[in-house]
């Protein structure tokens, strides 16, 4: 439009006097244009993040449940939170959540992702591509089908695959490997999540590693550096930002994720063995076994988790200085 013309260097200014006013007008216009582009995303963020966030916070102070769903909301102060922190299984769920999040993160979403990126860029391109593609497969598989495969792997004899082909000293004793013991259940929960989680980091690390100039690595090799030294001294420092980004992003993903656990163990075997915080919130509020969903109580679990992850996100953003990553826009004004 014409208002963009005024500030463009090549065309001559039509009227010197009116320039300041027009430019203020034009900057207002361009701000409005920007908001126009942002409008759809703003509506969605408002409708599905901010308003639900407020509703969730309000709910957590009510006693809303299936039994009094039709009545007006009854506010009960901090009762839900007192009940939450006094819950007999609160310490267990808390420990489970920490264990699940950081073990899966360290072993797979960060650890294995990095190893896969390093190894697949070390071998010829086409082979590396092939292995990364196979690793992407779990992410593309419908979660229900994916969980089904793992259930068949861990099933008891004679149907279970691991019980058929695995060595006896490594646990293939014929029983149900997922529901047989707490250790077995945890191994499966972490593997199931890890095999999906690793590919996100793998792809980002790979593209970062491939953008490292080859001369740099060649020079290091000529100097007699071992593979390990090259990784430690040259490659890792150069992919520092992707590493920090994945660490942050995946911590938050894992902290609030529960779909696979819901499908695989539903928090079992037994009481709360593999139950994580997000699953508790979900089950209490929406999928209670006894037909008495406790919306208010479930919401209070969710609120605490949202607050914890928000704080964590802010700490990460400050700690890793993510704001410095945000470049200035290319075209502010022409």
């Amino acid at each position: 439009m014409t208002q963009d013309l005024e500030e463009a260097p090549p065309p001559a200014q039509p009227e010197a006097l009116s320039v300041p006013r027009r430019s203020r007008y034009s900057s207002m216009r361009s701000t409005l244009t920007a908001y126009g582009f942002m409008a759809p995303v703003m509506v969605l963020v408002l409708g599905f993040f901010i308003i639900p966030g407020l509703i969730l916070a309000t709910l957590s102070f009510t006693s809303l449940a299936d039994s009094n769903f039709q009545e007006a909301w009854e506010f009960i102060g901090f009762d839900n939170f007192t009940r939450l922190f006094g819950d007999a299984f609160f310490p267990k769920i808390f420990r489970n959540t920490l264990f699940y999040t950081f073990t899966t993160l360290a072993l797979f979403n960060l650890g294995f992702a990095l190893v896969l990126a390093l190894v697949t860029t070390h071998i010829p391109r086409r082979s590396g591509f092939f292995f990364r593609l196979v690793w992407l497969l779990p992410r593309l598989t419908p979660s229900v089908v994916y969980i089904m495969m793992w259930q068949r792997i861990g099933a008891p004899s004679p149907f279970g695959i691991y019980n058929q082909i695995g060595p006896q000293f490594l646990g293939a004793t014929g029983g149900n490997l997922i529901f047989g013991s707490a250790t077995g259940a945890w191994i499966f929960v972490i593997l199931v999540n890890g095999f999906v989680g690793a590919s996100f980091g793998m792809i980002i690390f790979t593209s970062a590693l491939e953008s490292i100039p080859e001369d740099l690595i060649t020079a290091a090799k000529v100097d007699g550096a071992s593979t390990w030294q090259i990784i430690k001294d040259h490659k890792l420092p150069l992919i520092k930002w992707p590493l920090l980004f994945i660490a942050t992003y995946q911590t938050l993903s894992l902290l609030t994720s529960f779909e696979f656990i819901l499908l695989l163990t539903e928090g079992g075997p037994g009481l709360f063995t593999t139950e994580v915080w997000a699953l508790t919130a979900y089950k209490r509020a929406l999928k209670s076994y006894f037909g008495n969903s406790q919306w208010g109580f479930g919401a209070s679990w969710a609120v605490v988790l949202v607050i914890v992850s928000l704080l964590l996100a802010i700490v990460y953003v400050k700690l890793f200085k993510f704001n410095e990553l945000i470049e200035e826009p290319k075209i502010e004004n022409l």
Binding site: D4, L5, L59, F322
Partner: protein
């Protein structure tokens, strides 16, 4: 990497043998490691394929009634006569397509504004995308129920996007995918030079026209990758449809499938495997024909500080 292995040998002939051997062993070890690492994935898929076409399986082996290897059958595919599964498939398809369109338009518009324009709240929004991730919609499902129920009471839009509608599920799923979509699209726009765009603006094109006619065609691979991934996410969606639909009328394929597993009657794993396989046909087609795109999806978001 092949050129790298030869470089030291040219410079220092005395180390030729040892360096070469080391490289070779390293590569062998790399292959061994990778092959072992993908074993569980290959086993899972092998089981799915074998179980689909057999009466029953013992581990990975299809067996007949006598317990010998055999018992192949096509009976597991009889579910194709069931009308319910076609309804579920249509719902899956509608959710996925709605998501591709919604996420595509919203993310490219916002990504463009965030990459190219300066406005109050830009920085805040960009930091917020990461924070929104902590605020994941999965955690807000309890409250989103009320939003959907409220939308459901409105005339016209209520039938389209309220609680227990395909539109409502799609809308929630779109919102869920938006933070990552915006972030990725911004990355793709950041990679473009602004020569063409600037020329167009000087020539008097509007921002909207520049976005639609000049910028979008340039990030076509990015849009394709995003669409592909969004389609897959929509096609596979389980948690949101499971939570926000009641009964089978509006459920999609994954919900339908999980109902077969969690029914109180003994599970016919071979039937379930066949349904799962059926559900994966479009994904397998994508997987075979769009590999490059699939592995490049996150490239836009990986810019980082280097």
């Amino acid at each position: 990497m092949t050129t790298v292995t030869e470089a030291p040998s040219k410079i220092d002939p005395r180390n030729w043998f040892s360096t070469e051997t080391r490289e070779k062993n390293g590569r062998r070890f790399a292959y061994l490691f990778l092959v072992v690492s993908i074993t569980p994935i290959l086993i899972g898929y092998s089981w799915l394929l074998i179980a689909t076409f057999s009466v029953r399986t013992r581990g990975l082996l299809p067996v007949n009634a006598a317990g010998d290897i055999g018992g192949f059958t096509l009976n597991n595919w009889k579910f194709l006569d069931d009308v319910e599964i076609w309804k579920a498939m249509l719902n899956s398809f509608l959710i996925a397509v709605a998501m591709v369109i919604g996420v595509g338009i919203v993310s490219t518009a916002a990504g463009y504004a965030l990459s190219r324009m300066s406005f109050v709240g830009r920085k805040a929004f960009l930091s917020m995308t990461l924070v929104l991730h902590a605020f994941k919609a999965e955690m807000l499902l309890i409250a989103i129920f009320f939003v959907l129920r409220w939308l459901g009471t409105k005339p016209l839009i209520g039938d389209l996007v309220g609680f227990n509608t395909v539109g409502g599920v799609a809308l929630v799923m779109i919102a869920l995918e938006i933070p990552l979509g915006v972030w990725l699209m911004k990355g793709f726009f950041d990679n473009l030079t602004w020569d063409m765009e600037r020329a167009a603006l000087i020539d008097g094109a509007s921002r909207f026209r520049v976005w639609w006619q000049i910028m979008l065609p340039q990030i076509r691979p990015g849009i394709a990758a995003l669409s592909l991934f969004t389609f897959i996410v929509g096609w596979n969606a389980y948690l949101v449809p499971f939570t926000f639909t009641i009964g089978t009328k509006f459920s999609n394929m994954p919900v339908f499938l999980n109902q077969q597993i969690s029914d109180t009657a003994p599970v016919n794993w071979n039937l379930v495997a066949a349904i799962g396989m059926f559900q994966m046909i479009p994904l397998m087609i994508f997987f075979i024909f769009t590999q490059e795109l699939l592995l490049n999806i996150y490239a836009g978001g990986s810019k980082g500080g280097n």
